[in-house]
């Protein structure tokens, strides 16, 4: 009986691990591709360890195209992501406080509007938004990709509201008795307690913005302003022969921030998804 249990246990772990390996195989293959030449990538098959390790891919890839290197692309990505994430964080925290803690006229109405925007896919308003930004002569700048984030993101407002439910209302009362205004209550009490929810927001918004492809595709046309996501797509330009080695090298580099954050903040991410759900 006992041996049977052990065998079953080993079988279980072996199966889960083997299947998990298959799951991440494409990612591993991409990373190993960064160290192979085109010949090895195209004919090497499933092998993960390159026959001869090629390191030139990184240097060649980093050169980018049109005289603009990946230094610029990474810089652009970092600027876009940081601004959008900061905007989301500040505005969503404000709004969630109003909707969950303050009894003001029209609260129910604005709450329903918020739920509506959460269900409304961005693609539906993609074209008219583009036209509006075009009329404002802001297409080709970072503004359309950053400014909207400073006005609250429904998904994160909802997530923070869920979290605020768990902060006891007695704290509000106590603060009131101590002479703290509703503004002070937010900055001195609610905001510090919101920390776990804030970290989740930073991580998820960072991922979405870092990977965002459709936004830059619509609004950024000059290579000088391209983020990494759009730049690595240029490697697969149908008009030229694809340099797979460089493409995989830059692709792998583009995923490093994603993995690093996952490594350090895994706990918060899993909690955040577990409580509120993550699209994708």
């Amino acid at each position: 009986m006992k041996t049977k249990k052990i065998i079953l246990k080993i079988f279980y772990h072996a199966f889960v691990l083997a299947f998990g390996f298959c799951m991440i195989y494409p990612v591993l293959w991409m990373i190993s591709g960064a160290f192979k030449d085109n010949q090895q990538i195209l004919n090497g098959g499933l092998k993960l360890i390159p026959k001869t390790v090629v390191t030139t891919n990184f240097a060649t890839g980093w050169k980018g195209f049109g005289g603009i290197t990946f230094t610029t692309f990474f810089k652009n990505s970092i600027i876009l992501t940081t601004l959008a994430t900061a905007g989301t964080l500040i505005s969503s925290a404000f709004v969630s406080y109003a909707l969950s803690r303050i009894r003001f006229k029209g609260r129910g109405f604005w709450f329903s509007c918020m739920l509506m925007t959460m269900m409304l896919p961005g693609q539906i308003i993609m074209i008219p938004s583009f036209l509006i930004w075009h009329k404002l002569k802001l297409v080709g700048t970072f503004v359309p990709l950053v400014l909207p984030y400073f006005f609250g993101q429904a998904f994160f407002i909802y997530q923070m509201m869920q979290f605020m439910k768990g902060i006891p209302k007695e704290l509000d009362e106590a603060a009131k008795i101590d002479g703290c205004s509703k503004y002070g209550l937010f900055f001195k009490i609610i905001l510090p307690l919101l920390k776990p929810s804030i970290i989740t927001t930073i991580i998820i918004q960072f991922y979405w913005k870092w990977d965002d492809y459709m936004g830059p595709l619509l609004y950024i046309h000059s290579p000088r302003l391209m983020p990494v996501s759009l730049a690595i797509k240029q490697f697969a330009d149908p008009s030229s022969i694809t340099d797979y080695g460089s493409m995989f090298a830059m692709s792998s580099l583009s995923l490093i921030p994603v993995f690093l954050i996952f490594l350090f903040f895994n706990r918060y991410l899993v909690q955040g998804i577990g409580t509120s759900g993550l699209k994708g």
Partner: protein, 307 residues
């Protein structure tokens, strides 16, 4: 002196009034909602009745012409069919996988956290351009899949994924199913909430593992299944990046996803009015689908109050 103090008090009262505080804090959302959701939606609605093209000097009101044209646009009709096929195949598969793996990973073992992270990685990176490019290479004519096929079977591979109209969709579906990680984590969080005593009671009654899954796990998880189903359906309807990068809608529009066709009409052909009409049709279709999912959920979602 006292007057000034009175005024000061009055101002302070207004500032600290719940209505003022509420609107001050909710202001970003209200402005954003008007500026970035409502106005674009209204604009889009108005444009959908015009022949607006990008950069055109004049815009003519053409009534329902755009919508009539849609009915005769064979690519539009095909993109509808293709998108529905994508949603209907990929969403149930993805959710089944997510549930199955979440269930497998409920064992009390230190390794489980590690396993969950492992299975979550595809979701983590799947939306990126990087992975889309890898997918494109794997299923290309001379890609990894065919090379391996040749190594194993010796014969020249006959599978031309992106060249065959009947097959081109499947790598995209596989990619979507592959990213079951985030649904899995939501399911895992739900599984943790199911009281152990339910299972113990069922075991005393002699229910086997499969029966327990069917009679306890599924009903208890049904609200979470509903949530995942709706979120995944909406995002599957809107799939864009993968189709745009991997297949560009080819071959013969067999992977011309709806969002991609909207984008092409607006940006490539600069038919803005037409694209706006398409966006609205999509919104209506998605609302109907979501409505039916909600409606049907009354039959299969169990809430605590019922039992």
């Amino acid at each position: 002196m006292t007057d000034q103090r009175k005024n000061g008090n009055r101002i302070r009262k207004i500032i600290n009034n719940d209505n003022t505080v509420g609107y001050v804090f909710a202001m970003p959302f209200i402005l954003g909602f008007l500026g970035f959701s409502l106005i674009p939606m209204i604009t889009s609605f108005v444009y959908s009745f015009t022949d607006m093209t990008f950069g055109a000097k004049e815009i003519n009101f053409i009534g329902l012409e755009n919508f009539k044209e849609l009915l005769h646009d064979s690519i539009f009709l095909k993109s509808l069919r293709v998108t529905f096929k994508y949603v209907i195949i990929s969403v149930p598969l993805k959710l089944s996988f997510a549930l199955l793996v979440a269930f497998l990973l409920t064992r009390k073992s230190k390794m489980v956290t590690l396993y969950r992270s492992l299975y979550y990685i595809p979701s983590l990176v799947g939306g990126s351009v990087a992975v889309a490019l890898v997918w494109k290479q794997i299923f290309a004519r001379k890609g990894l899949f065919n090379v391996v096929w040749k190594q194993i079977f010796g014969a020249e591979a006959a599978v031309n994924w992106f060249g065959d109209e009947r097959l081109a969709m499947y790598p995209l579906i596989l990619m979507s199913v592959w990213q079951f990680g985030s649904s899995m984590i939501i399911f895992a969080a739900g599984l943790k909430e199911i009281p152990e005593s339910y299972y113990e009671a069922a075991m005393i009654d002699g229910a086997n593992g499969f029966q327990r899954f069917l009679r306890i796990t599924l009903p208890c998880l049904s609200p979470i299944i509903l949530y995942n189903l709706i979120m995944q359906t909406i995002s599957a309807f809107m799939v864009f990046t993968q189709a745009q990068i991997i297949t560009e809608g080819k071959p013969n529009n067999a992977t011309m996803m709806y969002a991609l066709y909207v984008y092409n009409n607006a940006i490539k052909y600069s038919k803005m009015g037409y694209a706006c009409a398409m966006s609205w049709v999509m919104l209506v279709i998605m609302s109907i689908v979501t409505f039916f999912i909600f409606k049907s959920s009354r039959k299969w979602v169990f809430s605590e109050a019922d039992s």
